[in-house]
Symmetry: C2
Subunit: 308 residues, 2 copies
């Protein structure tokens, strides 16, 4: 799947992943009202609004981008119907040939991580039959429990040719509280990065590993160091746009081959119609605003990489 | 909710939480067959088997214990129907007046953690109405992203009088890989424990805080230190039984008042009928075996605490 991701990034010339993290407040009133008219102001109604919103955005951007990243928390907050909307979104994106990165940040002790890995990337055995529960192509993984929380994911990646992005240095303001702590001379995230490189050697694609890393756009200097420590890891870079990261911050996350990083934008794309730059589209044409925002983001990254 | 947990522990004289972490291999054939006959060897069939298994165990142990801890990964591996079985289990346990600890190990950047906190402990707004999505009493939280990944949970705990257990030192063999790294003279988990104490001061119950910690039974020396660093935090102690922790290892996790810790056992209780000590019950009477295993665990902990 890492080979497919790289190939799609090259074809679209867009190292971009659109974060499908819908808050109800992002969803235009006409979509919410239609969903509530059908299902009431219920969890089912919220899930329907989320799904219809996602579907339209995907329809308008799928040909421009290689991948999407639904953040499962935004679905889980609507309970079981929300999780059903997550699954529907995953399936729809795959039907459009998009690479789907489930932003689930799971991680637990061995047997439990194995259940998460099977549930999100693999197949589960029920009696004599096998089923594919959620079927994302990649998921994000939290490394706090160490190797035996990550290895079950690596094993499923080997079997299924799927991938993971391990949290190394997250984009949020307090990420340094534990991740930046110095162990001797070097911060914790460097040790995590070294483990990512080690896990990654166990499942290599053509040029890059099935095991990638998350490093926030908000910490470009860290990107430079991590790029060196994990040369074969694809870096998933959150924090562009709404969280403050700029195109020029991103160049350090890429290798000399112009590859090695994929930049996420969520709010900046899916709620573009709420920004003054795209207000001309109006709420009715929110998905066209998203398309314009993807095009602008692609140009921003392209021009930053040209100046590298 | 921490007050209710303490009160129930005192009343039952059992600082025990039963981990409802059903693997299909734990579930007796007669239950699986009945579920598959009704729903086929499908995700729905697996979810039904899990639910029927849980229900019988709960019916046989609910009067002996204060709390249960369903591990959501074991449900998530069966996709959307699995998550529905998780919700059904939470609701049923609450109808039996059990305190429900959702072992979800969530944690993300601020706005995303807020969605998880709302989804599992709080209420979500849909139009003019509020809904309670999963409704656990406590959840486990991963601290790798620092305070702004934990604070949204603390906020919901304050509003709802619910609680969290933050991962400090997990029970698995490789937990030391990052958690034990020395920052100067002291390991990372001590710094996390200090933050737990700090977060906990913002939401105190009567004697203990709504913010607790996870420290594995497999590391009793760590328990001793953490008990001192976080005197007001309830410690959720996994790793007893199947993972190797003994009653005598547990005494360091308790305070002088005989409180302050709650010990989890999953496999050792729910799959007790598979152990030679309880084989006499047979698969047909698996839930009675679970009851006997709870009683034995209670005595083991009681006698260890007497010898403290």
């Amino acid at each position: 799947m890492i080979n497919k991701l790289v190939e799609k990034i090259q074809r679209t010339e867009a190292p971009i992943v659109v974060g499908l993290d819908p808050m109800l407040t992002y969803i235009p009133e006409h979509i919410r009202e239609k969903a509530f008219a059908e299902y009431g102001e219920t969890l089912e109604g919220a899930a329907e609004a989320v799904w219809q919103f996602n579907k339209q955005i995907v329809d308008y951007v799928y040909d421009l981008i290689p991948a999407v990243k639904p953040q499962i928390a935004m679905y889980e907050q609507f309970g079981v119907p929300g999780i059903a909307a997550f699954k529907k979104t995953v399936d729809y994106c795959k039907s459009k040939d998009l690479v789907v990165i489930g932003d689930v940040k799971r991680g637990d002790i061995g047997s439990t991580s194995a259940a998460y890995a099977i549930g999100h990337l693999g197949k589960v055995q029920v009696g004599s039959r096998e089923h594919v529960p959620f079927d994302e192509d990649f998921v994000t993984v939290n490394p706090y429990l160490g190797s035996d929380g990550v290895n079950p994911f690596v094993k499923v990646c080997q079997e299924e040719k799927k991938g993971i992005f391990v949290l190394v240095k997250t984009s949020n303001p307090s990420s340094g509280e534990f991740q930046d702590r110095l162990l001797g001379e070097r911060p914790l995230y460097e040790y995590v990065g070294e483990k990512v490189a080690e896990w990654g050697r166990q499942c290599m694609g053509e040029d890059y590993s099935y095991v990638g890393a998350v490093v926030g756009a908000t910490y470009p200097e860290v990107g430079k160091i991590m790029r060196r420590i994990m040369p074969k890891a694809y870096i998933l870079v959150p924090g562009y746009g709404a969280q403050g990261g700029q195109g020029s911050d991103l160049v350090h996350f890429f290798n000399e081959d112009g590859l090695g990083a994929i930049v996420n934008s969520s709010r900046g794309i899916i709620a573009a119609y709420k920004q003054s730059a795209y207000a001309r589209f109006g709420a009715e044409h929110f998905a066209e605003a998203s398309r314009a925002a993807v095009e602008a983001m692609r140009e921003d990254i392209k021009s930053a990489l040209r100046q590298k």
